[in-house]
């Protein structure tokens, strides 16, 4: 059973919505059936094969090539299999994914892994706003799984997150972990303003510069033993983590006292 390879012939003039690109579904489909899957080109109903050359079928190992920054919903809702995007991905990549692995070798546009429930989403470049976040109106954002980002993250990283882990090797923008309900966000660079704003439970662990909001209270400085294990696991999975972070103490801030203050911001201190 070989891999399915999709090659986008040319960047579409307007965004292409292609939630049909899901490795778990491709496992049951022939090459011709995959080419007939529906996509939306603006307001026009078209077939996947109108835009992509399709090679292979009946496999849940899928590679997608070409200028994909205008292709939306790549791997969204996928529940298994392996999808590799050989370049940049458009908005909503891996949104709502429940299982399997999605690897994006370039950058991911907004909403990467938004409301994901399981599986592993690895972005080798950077992610834009709302990665692992919640859509408007949703009570919960990311509810499970692992989101690994090798580059920087935009604003509202993991907003309203409920479970799972987000790890960002670079910096994160404003409002990281805002309104978090539970789960863990680890950032190895700086975070922008208002991290953990409105957070109920959960941990935001920052290794660069961080200023907790005024509704957080300093509690203590300590060496949480579980964190070292966590970090080693992330490094094992290929996230570039500097050696100096693997030991060290953290300043612990409890919050958010504007909400249910059962969460924390941990700021690495050497």
């Amino acid at each position: 059973m070989g891999a399915v390879v999709l090659r986008l012939r040319a960047a579409p003039a307007v965004p292409l919505e292609a939630p049909c690109i899901r490795p778990d579904h491709f496992a049951a489909l022939s090459e011709a059936e995959i080419a007939r899957l529906p996509v939306w080109h603006g307001s026009e109903a078209r077939a996947l094969g109108d835009f992509f050359d399709v090679r292979g079928g009946h496999a849940d190992d899928v590679r997608v090539k070409g200028e994909l920054s205008r292709v939306k919903h790549l791997g969204a809702e996928m529940a298994g299999g392996r999808l590799v995007i050989e370049g940049d991905a458009g908005p909503h990549a891996g949104a709502g994914m429940a299982g399997g692995t999605l690897r994006i070798e370039g950058d991911a546009a907004a909403w990467a892994g938004a409301e994901m429930r399981g599986g592993v989403l690895e972005v080798r470049g950077r992610v834009r706003a709302y990665a692992g976040g919640a859509y408007a109106g949703s009570r919960w954002g990311m509810a499970g799984g692992l989101l690994l980002v090798h580059g920087d993250a935009g604003d509202f990283l993991g907003v309203r997150m409920r479970r799972g882990t987000i790890a960002v090797a670079g910096c994160a923008g404003e409002c990281a972990g805002a309104e978090m309900i539970a789960g863990s966000i680890l950032v190895f660079g700086d975070v922008g303003r208002r991290p953990g704003f409105g957070l109920k439970r959960g941990s935001i662990v920052v290794h660069g510069a961080v200023e907790p909001p005024p509704t957080y209270r300093y509690a203590c400085t300590y060496r949480p033993p579980h964190l070292a294990l966590y970090l080693r696991e992330l490094a094992r999975r290929g996230l570039p983590i500097e050696e100096r972070f693997l030991g060290g103490a953290y300043r612990r801030y409890n919050g958010d006292f504007a909400e249910l203050p059962r969460g924390e911001i941990l700021a690495w201190t050497t």
């Binding site: 939306w40 307001s43 109903a45 859509y135 408007a136 109106g137 949703s138």
Partner: protein
């Protein structure tokens, strides 16, 4: 409009004309039902199928500012329920079916399409303040297929309350006529009479005789004055009233007192389920459905729609802003509260009815009790108060609950047993609605109660709004996907799928009024409001396809 054709071989349910499942042809010409068409006219074979007039929804919330706010409040429900633009080939060229979103509060296009998809061809928005009339009309203009209109909120109108407080009840009919005409509304809606105005000042009103405004104005006086005005003006639909104390345990006393206060005048009591509660010693709600329906059975001047609760997603959306506040406090869910200056209130809360919840199960059971204990289906209309008790999309399931006892019993076993224990359902109500009774409660009765002479029946002269269903042991499936729906003779649905989306009419009352009130109203609004009354007067050309319905001669 359409050419002549003949529907052949269907079992026709047209209770307004005494037709109960007889096999007969239905002839259509020029968008109306006719006695006959020439022998060579095209034929649509519907042998063995059930033919009914198009459905008429007497009470729903589908247009106006509060509906727009609810759409904005619930993006998560619409995001997962998207209808894409479609192009349908046709004899006169392709028709474009616009895109839209669904959820409990669908967009305008989805609303028209989905009503038609159930065989409903007329629906009335039940609560619009005069200030919201323009937006309501714009949205109704944009709602395809169905005929529609709205009811104007007047039960907490500051000017009207002041007329009553000043002892000028005699001026109320002229004021009501003026407001209905200016807004191009169809009927008068009273919501929690006086109670919303009081709530806006931080008070709650518990009884019919509590003062709610200066000059000794009470809910009773408001109800009497408006019911009297509606009668005096000869409006086609009686006063449409949502009583005080909606949802409050023990509110049956207020509901019955309001019915008695009408003293023989006509009144349509809406979503009566929400007003049929008794109370235990520890303030828990109980069913008082039997007391309500026995009173209504014995009073032919009264009608009601049930406001059935259906399990699943709903949106509480009401001019009774205090109710929305309570629901928000109960659920912790986000809400919107809007003050409509000098006229009304407005509150919106996303909601979910659950089978195991005592109160929700009780509400579900009370609705069914009301249906099953009703003596006269001509005065008991099917509604969910869409989207308050559930979406109109749940009507097929509700019809099955009424027609299929085995299905009903199976549902009964799943809901909170403590809630069922005190209801007539626990005694095993055996009644199953017939197709003819369903035709009454979903089309013939609401059309008659609305005074719509061309709706709800299939006699010559009626609008050729026709629904054709394929018989199915699964009643829900049968009513969820009609074989055909015709609107004014045009096929708009086939096998549950849209085929065309013509524009329906907007129905409003055409009234004469003497205008004496105009100068006073202008002065009042200039002193107290931010808009002059003429700012929200609706001109005839603002309605895409308006049609005035004359008052009855009085």
């Amino acid at each position: 409009m359409s050419g002549a054709f003949r529907l052949v071989g269907g079992r026709v349910y047209d209770p307004a004309n005494g037709v109960d499942g007889e096999v007969r042809d239905v002839c259509v010409d020029g968008g109306r039902i006719v006695a006959s068409v020439p022998d060579g006219a095209p034929v649509v074979a519907v042998r063995g199928m059930v033919v009914m007039p198009g459905g008429v929804d007497i009470h729903c919330h589908i247009a106006g500012p509060k509906v727009g706010l609810a759409r904005r409040l619930e993006p998560e429900r619409r995001r997962r329920d998207v209808e894409r633009r479609r192009v349908i080939p046709g004899a006169d060229g392709p028709s474009v079916l616009r895109s839209g979103t669904g959820g409990t509060v669908p967009s305008t296009f989805t609303t028209g399409r989905r009503y038609a998809g159930l065989g409903y061809t007329t629906a009335f928005e039940a609560a619009v303040p005069a200030m919201g009339a323009r937006q309501a009309h714009q949205e109704l203009n944009d709602t395809p297929v169905i005929d529609k209109g709205f009811y104007l909120l007047l039960g907490n109108d500051d000017f009207l309350l002041r007329l009553l407080g000043a002892g000028e009840a005699g001026a109320v009919p002229d004021y009501v006529a003026r407001m209905l005409s200016a807004a191009r509304a169809y009927a008068v809606k009273v919501v929690n009479p006086g109670g919303v105005a009081a709530w806006k000042r931080g008070r709650t009103v518990a009884g019919l005789d509590e003062p709610v405004a200066a000059g000794g104005v009470t809910p009773r006086r408001i109800v009497e004055a408006i019911a009297g005005a509606v009668d005096a003006l000869g409006l086609p639909h009686p006063m449409h009233i949502h009583c005080n104390n909606l949802g409050v345990p023990g509110n049956v006393a207020t509901t019955l007192a309001t019915m008695r206060a009408l003293e023989g005048r006509r009144g349509h009591f809406t979503h009566i389920q929400f007003h049929s509660y008794g109370r235990t010693a520890d303030e828990r709600p109980t069913s008082a459905a039997r007391r309500i329906i026995e009173y209504v059975n014995a009073h032919p001047e009264l009608s009601l729609d049930v406001g059935q609760v259906m399990f699943g997603a709903a949106t509480a959306m009401t001019a009774d802003a205090g109710v929305a506040q309570r629901l928000h406090e109960l659920t912790g869910h986000r809400w919107v509260d809007v003050d409509v200056e000098l006229e009304s209130g407005c509150g919106i809360v996303p909601f979910e009815y659950r089978e195991r919840n005592y109160v929700h199960a009780l509400q579900w059971a009370i609705g069914l009790e009301l249906f099953l204990l009703a003596a006269d289906p001509w005065r008991v209309v099917l509604s969910t108060d869409h989207p308050n008790g559930g979406s109109f999309l749940s009507y097929p399931r509700l019809i099955r609950l009424l027609m299929d006892r085995a299905f009903r019993d199976e549902q009964l076993r799943r809901v909170n047993p403590a809630a069922i224990a005190g209801t007539a359902l626990a005694d095993g109500l055996a009644r199953e609605y017939t197709l003819s009774e369903i035709a009454i409660v979903t089309r013939a009765a609401p059309a008659r109660l609305l005074g719509l002479e061309r709706k709800g029946h299939l006699g010559p002269g009626a609008d050729a709004d026709i629904a054709v269903y394929r018989p199915d042991a699964d009643i829900e499936a049968m009513f969820a996907a009609p074989r055909y729906v015709f609107k004014e003779g045009m096929p708009v649905v086939e096998d549950g799928e849209p085929r065309a989306e013509p524009w329906g009419r907007t129905l409003h009352v055409a009234l004469a009024h003497d205008g004496a009130i105009e100068a006073r109203l202008a002065r009042f609004r200039a002193e107290r409001g931010t808009l002059a009354p003429d700012d929200y007067r609706i001109d005839a050309d603002e309605l895409r396809r308006g049609e005035g319905v004359a008052a009855r001669s009085t």
